[in-house]
Amino acid sequence: MLKIEGLKVSVEGKEVLRGIDLEVPAGEVHAIMGPNGSGKSTLGYVLAGREGYEVTAGSVTFRGRDLLAMEPEERAAAGLFLAFQYPVELPGVGNANFLRQALNAVRRARGEAELDAVQFLKLVRGKVKALGMTEEMLKRAVNVGYSGGEKKRNEILQMAILEPAFCILDETDSGLDIDALKIVAEGVNALRSSDRGMLVITHYQRLLDYIVPDRVHVLLAGRIVQSGGPELARALEAKGYGELQAAA
């Protein structure tokens, strides 16, 4: 579903991703772990199409298409979704309005009918409740004045509404209390299916107890230095990155 080959990316002249090879087939959940500054968020941003990243080598194929040639909104329309590590505040932009515009944009791209305000509200109500959010949060400006945990839930709410084919979660677990972590993990698990892929970036084994990955990759200084099953995450939790760093 997502195939990354020999991807090298520079930011402001500095090579941050130094040759990434990674394939996530439909139906699988892959986790990426790695120390601060190793390039995890950069990978997420490059896949989502943020400006300011120079791809110097390699390719990314998403559902058979050249992902890197697409605009960010085309990638979203094609089914790619990035839950941001740091969700962006949009002053003056109402959350409900934002969610509906996003959903309708994606529905248009999928050839589905747009939802009017009433239909949308019906759809969103159930999801808001399932994520332990209040409807009041729909009335507020996107992420403005939200607590750290509320921002993360709002990311998952967007994901639940847009039902993307491929989800990248960038540290969605950080800043969440234990109950919220469970709720968010349930939200993610509810989306797990045989035709959906996921890339879960995290620092903690804890999230992977709830969202059990098929594969775990270790990103170190812009390269994947080790891959394995769920047990790799547990080993890292116990030992840290020291050994791998020494070997690199």
């Binding site: 989502a48 199409g49 943020r50 400006e51 605009e71 960010p72 909104e73 990638r75 979203a76 329309a77 979704f81 990035l82 941001f84 969700p87 962006v88 505040e89 949009l90 002053p91 003056g92 932009v93 309005n97 934002f98 515009q101 996003a102 944009a105 994606v106 791209a109 400006a141 967007q158 847009l162």
Partner: protein
């Protein structure tokens, strides 16, 4: 420099060094017109009206058009007016101006500055509300109307003075004590033909008796080709405890010029709550002089300036706190695209007597293009010692992270920018209390964005 006999072509825009006032052919021509019409303008036989007009003509003759050498006009150049030979508006027939509002409220329509009863609908006006044309009132030598002329407007300034000299018509609205006048809609529509620039100088008198209430929606629009210069003056007097909600929407053709002076006096416990949305003419100067003259009076001068292409929009306000315990609030947002120019000048003057003044001013600009520019000049002049005044100003560009965030959710770039512009305007537009009016203003801002996107 242009010789005094040179006849500029219509629509020509040339920025020359400011000529001395007397050298402007336009000044001479406007004064000629004032002389020629002196006996024929409505109310000409009334000595008070005639004297008022003569004073206006004299002031304008002395001063001519303001130039950028004057502090108040530092950022706005009227070269375009000085270089244009304006004609008399002819009586337009077969006009049906498009209506932006379907509302059933009483409506008064002005075409090229003249009230048109045939296009207006003021039948349903509430008892205690008098609404009519200035020309009619002056023709009838209505004492109340005549007494109100020039009572509030700063007619020592050249443009209001010129308005006095040439005012032919306008709107007179008067509310009796305690009356709730509901909503009234004024539409000023310009029809001038291309190649025939016209000037008109409407004078509006609005007076609310003690405790009266009114929502006044005022729109200025025009036919696409109309090169009309509208030089309007409004005198707004709010008696004790009265409340006027004044929504103004200036959406005029690129060929038009609009200079407006709104003079407001807010008496004890009264409230003037205004929102002005300016989408431009080629050049707009929106000037408001408000005096809080009685204790506990309140003033809201909010607005948004949406400026694109080569348009120039200038909002200049003077807020005078002359009594204690008054509050003034001003939130003005400016969005600039293309090579547009925006100006925001605001002076808050707090007299010695105005203790416990509460003044707030926020002025924010969003620049969508590197060629766009805003000049902002806030001024505080405070003579009282127990005063709370705060003001803030920001100038910024669209937030790239915000734009990417929206696009990453599938929202196309143009739509994403539109959402961000709406978001930027929101804390000004949301100050409009009436949901229907707020929606209309929001729709206007969306339409403006579409004009920007499609290079209008």
């Amino acid at each position: 420099m242009a010789s005094s006999r040179r006849r500029p072509e219509a629509g020509m825009v040339e920025v020359l060094d400011a000529p001395a006032p007397a050298a402007s052919t336009t000044v001479a021509q406007l004064l000629d017109r004032a002389r020629g019409l002196a006996d024929r303008l409505p109310g000409a036989r009334n000595p008070a009206v005639a004297a008022w007009r003569a004073r206006g003509a004299e002031t304008f003759a002395c001063q001519g058009f303001p130039t950028r050498r004057e502090e108040a006009w530092k950022y706005t150049d009227l070269a375009l007016l000085r270089e244009t030979r304006f004609e008399e508006p002819i009586l337009a027939t077969d006009i049906t101006p498009p209506l932006s509002r379907e509302g059933s409220e009483p409506r008064l329509v002005l075409i090229d500055g003249r009230v048109r009863h045939d296009l207006s609908a003021i039948g349903g006006v509430t008892a205690g509300v008098a609404i009519g044309s200035l020309a009619d009132a002056l023709q009838k030598q209505d004492e109340n109307t005549i007494a109100g002329l020039g009572r509030l407007a700063p007619e020592t300034l050249p443009l209001p003075a010129l308005n006095a000299a040439l005012a032919e018509d306008g709107v007179v609205i008067r509310l009796a004590d305690g009356v709730d006048g509901g909503m009234i809609h004024l539409l000023s529509y310009a029809t001038a033909r291309a190649g025939h620039p016209v000037a008109f100088h409407p004078r509006h008198l609005i007076r609310l008796g003690p405790g009266a209430r009114l929502v006044l929606i005022e729109e200025a629009r025009g036919e696409a080709e109309a090169f009309a210069w509208q030089n309007a003056v409004s005198e707004v007097l709010l008696g004790p405890g009265a409340r006027l909600t004044h929504i103004r929407l200036l959406d005029e053709p690129l060929s038009a010029v609009h200079t407006a002076m709104i003079a407001v006096r807010v008496e004890e416990g009264a409230e003037y709550d205004s929102f002005t949305l300016i989408k431009g003419a080629r050049l707009t100067r929106n000037e408001v002089h408000a005096v809080l003259s009685g204790p506990r009076a309140a003033l809201h001068l909010n607005g948004a300036q949406l400026v694109d292409g080569s348009r120039h929009v200038d909002t200049t306000t003077v807020i005078e706190h002359a009594a204690p315990d008054c509050a003034s609030r001003q939130t003005v947002k400016t969005v600039l695209a293309g090579r547009a120019r925006g100006v925001f000048q605001s002076k808050i003057l707090v007299h010695r007597a105005a203790q416990k003044t509460d003044g707030y001013q926020m002025n924010q600009a969003l620049l969508l293009s590197p060629e766009a520019e805003i000049d902002a000049k806030p001024q505080l002049e405070i003579y009282a010692d127990d005063v709370k005044c705060s003001h803030g100003a920001t100038v910024g560009e669209l937030d790239h992270d915000a734009l990417f965030y929206l696009r990453s959710r599938g929202i196309a770039e143009a739509e994403a920018k539109s959402l961000l512009v709406q978001g930027f305007l929101d804390d000004a537009v949301s100050l409009v209390a009436d949901p229907g009016l707020r929606e209309q203003l929001q729709a206007e801002t969306v339409a403006w964005w579409q004009r920007v996107e499609h290079g209008g």
